[in-house]
């Protein structure tokens, strides 16, 4: 301390500032790099790779598009849903497993 003050106040301040600045930068760099490495490690350990099946698991040919229009006007929306707003399978009667029928009955009882 005393030695440095003798060599001159200006150079002491200069050195002091450089040392502090370097130390701060150095720590900043260390924290930065460790943060980065930590995030990479965590990413590896929190990515459990849980994937859901794609459509091709359950559909051989995927979706067949009948309407494929780009840049439609907002006013066309209503007409579009008017066409598709009706259940195409409405009148089809299906046979239902007894278990499901019984469960529906149970639900009604509760109501």
């Amino acid at each position: 301390m005393t030695d440095m003050t003798i060599t001159g106040a200006a150079s002491f301040n200069e050195y002091f500032v450089i040392i502090i600045a370097t130390a701060v930068l150095f720590l900043f760099a260390c924290v930065g790099i460790s943060l980065y490495i930590t995030s990479r490690i965590l990413k590896k350990y929190t990515d459990f790779g849980e994937t859901e099946c794609s459509i091709h698991q359950y559909s051989a040919d995927g979706v067949r598009f009948k309407v494929n229009k780009d840049n439609v006007l907002p006013v066309e929306k209503e007409d579009f849903f008017l066409i598709y707003g009706e259940n195409p399978y409405e009148k089809i009667e299906r046979s239902i497993p007894e278990q499901l029928i019984r469960n529906s009955g149970k639900k009604d009882e509760h109501k």
């Binding site: 600045a21 990479r40 494929n68 529906s104």
Partner: protein, 384 residues
């Protein structure tokens, strides 16, 4: 109900490794098809079940075993009581367990237990007593599906962004799509257990259930329809969004219809449940009993994330210090090298710092504790 060994009258349990019924007392092995249970009538539409109910969460579980679990596989509570003997409809078939309990456990271990952020206490809970095999009811459907969706997105046009609208409508046939048939298991979780391979399915035989639990499908036909329609809709939206070339694509409005073909198949699919309690909260990890796929998230500790950070920090500090002094003293030139070094450190550090912070934030948001409400929908609300 429970079939007994013809050699010694011991209890028979299905072993996934041998795919045979094994006598715990004398070691005799039998094929499930060969064992005939004098009490059961294979031509009957029904089979007898012993239903146990959890007094805590209301979950129901079925077993033919006289020896019953000491805790509820859904909520981890020991308040499980015999409730009744019930006649249930025989399912059409089942996929027998292929993965043994030991294999399921080692899958869980290799997936989670080397992970530094998972508390040690959890690792100690990965023992065979905490793992139970459950046959989960599923409906396997074939369906026709029609959907119309109205999609919006930002399109670059004459160097400025414009909001465009897109119309997509079409249909799709689905085949052998499994729909989770119990209301308690959340569909988003059960879907992650897939795929199941149905070529391994066998005709329903209650002998396969020996040593395991099962659930009975408690959903109604309209539940099945809405679950199935929602799942098809999910597939359809993903496909239709793929055909739209724009940024910020969004399905604005949609209408969809489903036609489930006659008589969906009622199948029991094998799932291992690893249930444990950590800090008073129950957690469950599910393992596909046919393929061994592990689903679920583990609790983690902030403390352990901090320790990962600090250990990398000191490592980085040591390496950086060595590098720093090495460069400074070996090359001697303090003056010009110093400035250069400072500039380099500053640039690298600020870049790495921000990406570190951003990455960490993203991860902290994504990892959350396995809240049981996310996996199960309990009948009763859990009391504090």
């Amino acid at each position: 109900m429970a079939v007994l060994c013809s050699n010694c009258s011991g209890r028979l349990i299905f072993n996934p490794a041998s795919q045979k019924l094994e006598c715990a007392a004398c070691g005799s092995m039998f094929s499930p098809e060969d064992v005939s249970d004098s009490m059961a009538d294979v031509h009957s539409k029904y089979y007898d079940t012993r239903v146990y109910t959890c007094a805590h969460c209301g979950a129901e579980v079925v077993t033919s075993d006289t020896e019953v679990s000491t805790f509820c596989v859904y909520c981890g509570n020991p308040a499980i009581n015999f409730s009744r003997i019930a006649k249930e409809y025989r399912p059409d078939g089942l996929i027998p367990f292929k993965i043994t309990k030991e294999e399921a456990l080692s899958r869980v271990k290799s997936k989670f237990l080397k992970n530094p952020i998972i508390p040690k206490e959890v690792k100690r809970k990965a023992v065979p007593e905490n793992i139970r095999g459950i046959y989960v009811p599923y409906w396997i459907i074939n369906a026709r599906f029609t959907e119309a969706s109205y999609i919006s997105g930002d399109v670059e046009y004459d160097e400025c962004k414009e909001k465009w609208f897109f119309q997509r409508a079409g249909n799709c046939n689905f085949k052998n799509m499994p729909i989770d048939g119990s209301n308690i298991l959340n569909d988003s979780v059960s879907m992650k257990l897939e795929p199941y391979y149905f070529d391994a399915a066998v005709d329903f035989d209650e002998d396969y259930l020996n040593g395991f639990y099962s659930n009975i499908s408690d959903m109604s036909y309209s539940d099945l329809r809405s679950s199935a329609a929602f799942r098809c809709h999910d597939f359809f939206s993903k496909e239709s969004l793929k055909t739209v070339i724009a940024d910020n694509r969004m399905v604005e409005d949609t209408v969809y219809w489903i036609d489930i073909q006659d008589d969906p198949l009622y199948l029991m699919l094998p799932v291992w449940f690893f249930t444990f309690i950590y800090k008073g909260e129950p957690h469950t990890i599910l393992i596909n009993g046919q393929t061994g796929k592990v689903v679920g998230t583990m609790p983690w500790e902030k403390k352990r994330i901090m320790s990962v950070f600090w250990s990398t920090f000191f490592l980085v500090l040591a390496v950086m210090t060595a590098l720093f002094f090495g460069i400074v003293f070996n090359l001697g030139g303090l003056e010009n090298l110093y400035n250069l070094l400072i500039v380099i450190i500053l640039i690298v550090a600020s870049g790495v710092f921000t990406s570190g912070i951003v990455g960490l934030n993203k991860i902290m948001k994504n990892i959350k504790l396995t809240k049981e409400e996310d996996i199960f929908r309990f009948v009763k609300k859990r009391q504090a």
